[in-house]
Symmetry: C2
Subunit: 326 residues, 2 copies
C-alpha cells in the first residue's frame, strides 16, 4: 500500500545500492530473488523508532542509516554468522525531504558494503515517527552460537567495554555533562556501534560452541536471557566489569549504566573453564574480559561486590527497574 | 533495544507458533536458523500502520494478524513463489494489553499455518502507532514473474474483481453507506484479502513467464510500475474492468475505486496474444478478465472509453491524484 510518491522515493533510494552475485533480482519488483544457499541461514529483524530509540538531533542521516543496519548485524554476530542480504521498511513522517532520505540511504549503503550485505528491497509507509526496520539474512559456516547452551561452571566473558553507549545517550539527552574527547568517544559509542562480526565467527569455530548473546538490553538483562534459555543461574563479579577510561572519567563508579544501560552491542559468551582473557582477546581481535560464571539455576542471578559478598541482582534487570525512559 | 517487559511479551507470543523441519532454530535467540535452500529465494517486507492503513475499530486483533501476513503473501504470489518463513516487528503503543497481542498472534499463526509459513522470530518496540511489519521469505520452483518482461502486443489480465477493498474501506470510514450482504462482502475484501498464491504459481509455469505484479496500489498505478520497468505503454479497456455485483450495487458506475483504489491484492499479468479468459480462469482456479493490452512506450497509459475513444490516463494514477487520504 504505497502511494505513488512513496513508490518513486523507494525506487530512487534503491537505485544506487550495491548488490552482488548472490542477488539474482534486486530492488524494484514485488520481491527480491536470492540465489540458493548451501549453508544454514540466519534471519532477524530489528527496528529503530524516532523518539524511542533516537532523536534526529543526535545523528546525521548517514549515521542513522548505518546504525539501523549495525544493530541487526550485531544479531548475526551473536550467532557466529556472516550477514548477506537485507530489506528495509521506512516509516516516514512529514517534515523530512528526499535529501534526508538520500543521505540516510547513503549511510545505509556504505554500512552494507562494508559488511558485505546486499540491500535487496524496501518499502515505505507513512508514520507519525520516523521508523527504520531492517530484516537481515545471514549465513553460518558451521555451528551457531545459541543462548540455550550455557552450563553450570562455564565462565562468562564480554567483548569491549560496557555502559559507554548508555552514557553517550544521557550526554546527548542533556542528563549528564561531558566534554572534549570523552564526550566524543561516548556519544560515538551510541551513534556508531560496531557489530562484533569477526569475534562472533571466531567463537563459532570453538568446540563446544559457546553460548552467546549480543548485549543490546544491558549486561544483566541479556545474561538473564541466557539464564532463562539455558536454565542456569549466574554470578557477575562487579569488580571485573570492563569500563572505558572515558566512562570512568565521566560516570565515576556508577555501575548501573554498564550493568543495565543497554545498546552496548558487545558480545557476551560462556566458555568451559580454563580460558585466559588475554589469549581470547588476541584470538578474537577485540579486548575480552571475564566477568563472572554460570552456576546452578537455583542460585538465580547474583552480583559479587568488592568485599567478596554475593548479593541477589533482583531489581536490576533493565531499564524498567532503573526508572530510565530511553 | 527491548525492555524486559517487551522481551517477555515476544517470548510469550512466539511460544505457540508452529514451525517445521526447515526451521532449525525458531524464535527466542538472536536470530532464527533456517535450513539451506536448493531453490532461489524470494525476500520481501511490508508494513501496516494504525491510522494510515487501518483503524482498530475495523478489524479484530486476529484479522489484523492475518492481514499483516496476507499483504506479504501477495508479493510472493506476484512472483510465482511459495512463502516459507517470516519474522515480525511489532511497534506497540500504550493502551493495548497482552490479551490483544495474544489474539493478534493467534490470527497471524492461523494465517501462517494455512500458507505453510513458519513464524521464526520477532521483535517489539514502543511506537506512537500500532505497527506490524512482516519480512517474508519464499521459494520459487523455476521461473519468476517479473515486472520488467512485458512486451508490446501482450494482453493484460487481472484476477478477481477490482475496487471492492477500496470501497469496503470507505464504508468502514463512514464515507459511503452500504448494508447487509453487500456491506459484509466489501468490508471483508478489505479486512481479509486473499493472496493469489495458487494462481501465481500456475502463471510461473507458463512459457514465456508472464510479467506480473500484485495490485496493491490500484490497477493504474501498478500497471504503471509494469510500464516503467518494462519500458512499454498500455491501454486499459474501461468496459472490461471486472466489478463484483456488490461493488456495482453500492458504487454504481463509479470507476475510480476500481482503477486507483488500491488494496485489491489481485494479480495483474501480461501474456502473448491468444489466451482466452475462460480457459485461464479454469487453469488458474480464479476468475480472470482481459482488461487491456501492452503497447509501445511512446503511447503512455491510455484508457479506452465506452465509445471506443482512447484518452490519456494522466492524473488518475493513484490516491494522491484522487485527493483520497486512506
Amino acid at each position: 500500500m504505497k502511494q505513488p510518491g512513496e513508490f518513486e522515493l523507494i525506487e530512487r533510494l534503491c537505485r544506487d545500492l550495491p548488490y552482488g552475485r548472490r542477488t539474482l533480482l534486486g530492488p524494484g519488483d514485488d520481491c527480491a530473488v536470492l540465489a540458493p544457499t548451501r549453508r544454514p541461514q540466519l534471519f532477524t529483524i530489528d527496528s529503530m523508532v524516532e523518539g524511542v530509540h533516537f532523536e534526529l538531533a543526535w545523528l546525521s542521516p548517514e549515521q542513522l542509516g548505518e546504525r539501523a543496519l549495525a544493530v541487526n548485524l550485531s544479531d548475526i554476530a551473536a550467532m557466529g554468522g556472516s550477514p548477506r542480504s537485507c530489506v528495509v521498511n521506512l516509516g516516514i513522517r512529514k517534515g523530512l525531504g528526499a535529501a534526508f532520505f538520500d543521505r540516510l540511504y547513503r549511510g545505509l549503503g556504505r554500512a552494507a558494503r562494508a559488511a558485505g550485505v546486499d540491500v535487496v528491497g524496501g518499502n515505505i509507509t507513512r508514520s507519525a515517527q520516523l521508523t527504520l526496520t531492517v530484516a537481515l539474512l545471514g549465513e553460518v559456516a558451521g555451528q551457531v552460537l545459541r543462548r540455550d547452551t550455557a552450563r553450570s561452571g562455564d565462565e562468562i566473558f564480554v567483548t569491549g567495554t560496557l555502559g559507554d553507549s548508555a552514557l553517550g545517550w544521557r550526554i546527548m539527552a542533556g542528563e549528564i555533562e561531558a566534554r572534549g574527547a570523552a564526550r566524543k568517544y561516548l556519544v560515538d559509542r551510541f551513534v556508531a556501534p560496531q557489530a562484533r562480526l569477526g569475534a562472533g565467527r571466531k567463537l563459532a569455530r570453538m568446540r563446544p560452541a559457546p553460548a552467546a548473546i549480543d548485549i543490546s538490553d544491558g549486561l544483566l538483562a541479556d545474561l538473564g536471557h541466557i539464564m532463562e534459555r539455558s536454565r542456569v543461574g549466574a554470578e557477575v563479579d562487579l569488580a571485573a566489569i570492563p569500563y572505558s577510561r572515558h566512562y570512568l572519567a565521566v560516570a565515576g563508579d556508577r555501575a548501573d549504566l554498564a550493568l543495565s544501560g543497554g545498546e552496548d552491542y558487545e558480545l557476551l559468551f560462556c566458555l568451559r573453564p580454563g580460558h585466559s582473557a588475554p589469549v581470547l582477546s588476541r584470538r578474537l581481535g577485540v579486548a575480552v574480559h571475564r566477568v563472572g560464571r554460570i552456576v546452578e539455576r537455583r542460585h538465580g542471578l547474583r552480583l559479587r561486590r568488592g568485599d567478596g559478598r554475593l548479593v541477589p541482582a533482583s531489581g536490576m534487570l533493565g531499564w524498567d527497574q532503573l526508572g530510565v525512559d530511553p
